[in-house]
């Protein structure tokens, strides 16, 4: 597979910092698109605002860079009015679960046929490292210089509880798992979320040395501290401190939005 077939070469190199995991996640997306042989004209890649949301600018699909947190609502309009469009949303932790939290849980509730890839770096990178809804309690950010007082969201469990068809978590280091989960998501109907933990050395690592200061140290941290969900289920909460639980959180066959709405159309036409 040649990534250049999918990149807008004149826009490269991308803006992400050295050691940022976002490029690694993007490669997983492109490999999966290539594997499934999707037509580029039938893919819409939609984002909001933030580091992850710069992704659409670099790829040769129908690309839409929307407002902060709102990507899923734009994607909802696209998917409903053109169901054959493969609709992929890329979002960050802040974009998807802070300002866009409402759109996130409701897209899951409706089981809208959208694939959401969340690049979770536990921080607002683009604006200089403010704490996000996934910054762990006590960790440092430019707006939590004495330690974050807030509790973090568990994005995958949130998506699962809100009704998504498929939810999985991987890390940038575990690229093969990421490939696998993205493929499962792309093949599945309904709202599918793949959360990928992505190192942000510039804004997070630099301030929170426990996870490593630079990209390769942070990837190593992911390698050493990831726990598959099957194993995590047997572990005590204190054993799971500072661990990253990865794996498939939910994979269920439930009707997606279109199954329900097509019934609505049928009933409306009978009237």
């Amino acid at each position: 597979m040649d990534y250049l077939n999918y990149l807008r070469k004149d826009k490269m190199p991308h803006i992400w910092c050295d050691g940022c995991g976002h490029g690694i996640v993007l490669k997983s997306i492109l490999r999966t698109v290539d594997k499934l042989g999707w037509d580029k004209n039938e893919i819409a890649l939609i984002s909001g605002i933030g580091c992850s949301s710069r992704t659409p600018g670099y790829v040769d699909f129908n690309t839409l860079h929307t407002t902060h947190g709102r990507a899923l609502s734009f994607a909802t309009g696209i998917k409903i009015s053109k169901p054959k469009m493969h609709t992929i949303v890329v979002s960050g932790d802040g974009d998807a679960t802070a300002i866009g939290g409402n759109h996130f849980i409701h897209a899951a509730r409706r089981n809208m046929d959208i694939n959401l890839i969340i690049f979770n770096n536990n921080i607002y990178g683009m604006t200089g490292g403010q704490c996000s809804p996934t910054t762990p309690t006590g960790k440092f950010a430019s707006t939590s210089q004495f330690g974050n007082p807030d509790s973090p969201f568990d994005i995958s469990r949130l998506a699962e509880a809100a009704g998504a068809s498929f939810v999985a978590r991987s890390t940038a280091y575990h690229f093969a798992k990421t490939d696998k989960y993205i493929e499962m998501a792309f093949r599945k109907k309904g709202f599918c979320v793949v959360e990928v933990l992505s190192p942000c050395p510039t804004a997070y690592g630099r301030r929170n040395k426990s996870t490593g200061k630079v990209g390769h140290e942070m990837l190593k941290d992911q390698k050493e501290n990831s726990v598959p969900i099957e194993r995590a289920r047997k572990m005590k909460p204190e054993e799971l401190k500072d661990k990253y639980i990865t794996g498939v959180f939910i994979d269920r066959d439930v009707p997606d939005y279109f199954e329900h709405y097509n019934e609505v159309k049928k009933r409306a036409k009978l009237k």
């Binding site: 040649d2 990534y3 990149l7 490269m12 190199p13 991308h14 992400w16 910092c17 050295d18 050691g19 940022c20 995991g21 976002h22 490029g23 690694i24 490669k27 940038a172 280091y173 690229f175 093969a176 630079v214 990209g215 390769h216 990837l219 190593k220």
Partner: protein
């Protein structure tokens, strides 16, 4: 030792994060003054860990088996 894979690097896009240097199981790379350099090309097994982990689309690994297949196809 017989060469098993071609390594191509587009250093114009490289940001010197050293991920390839640190994660290559065969120690193919070493950090140069600015950019990684290939010091042991013959040690490369074509596993593609460096390619998959390179966030900047710099590295392309072509295992020679694959290359032959492509050429004969």
């Amino acid at each position: 030792m017989e060469k098993k894979a071609d390594i191509a690097m587009n250093l114009e896009w490289c940001k010197s994060c050293e991920i390839c240097v640190k994660f290559c199981p065969q120690k193919v790379y070493e950090m140069g003054k600015f950019y990684p350099k290939i010091i042991a090309p013959e040690a490369c097994t074509g596993c593609k860990i460096c390619e998959n982990l390179c966030p900047d689309f710099v590295i392309t690994i072509t295992p020679l088996k694959e290359k032959k297949k492509l050429e004969t196809a």
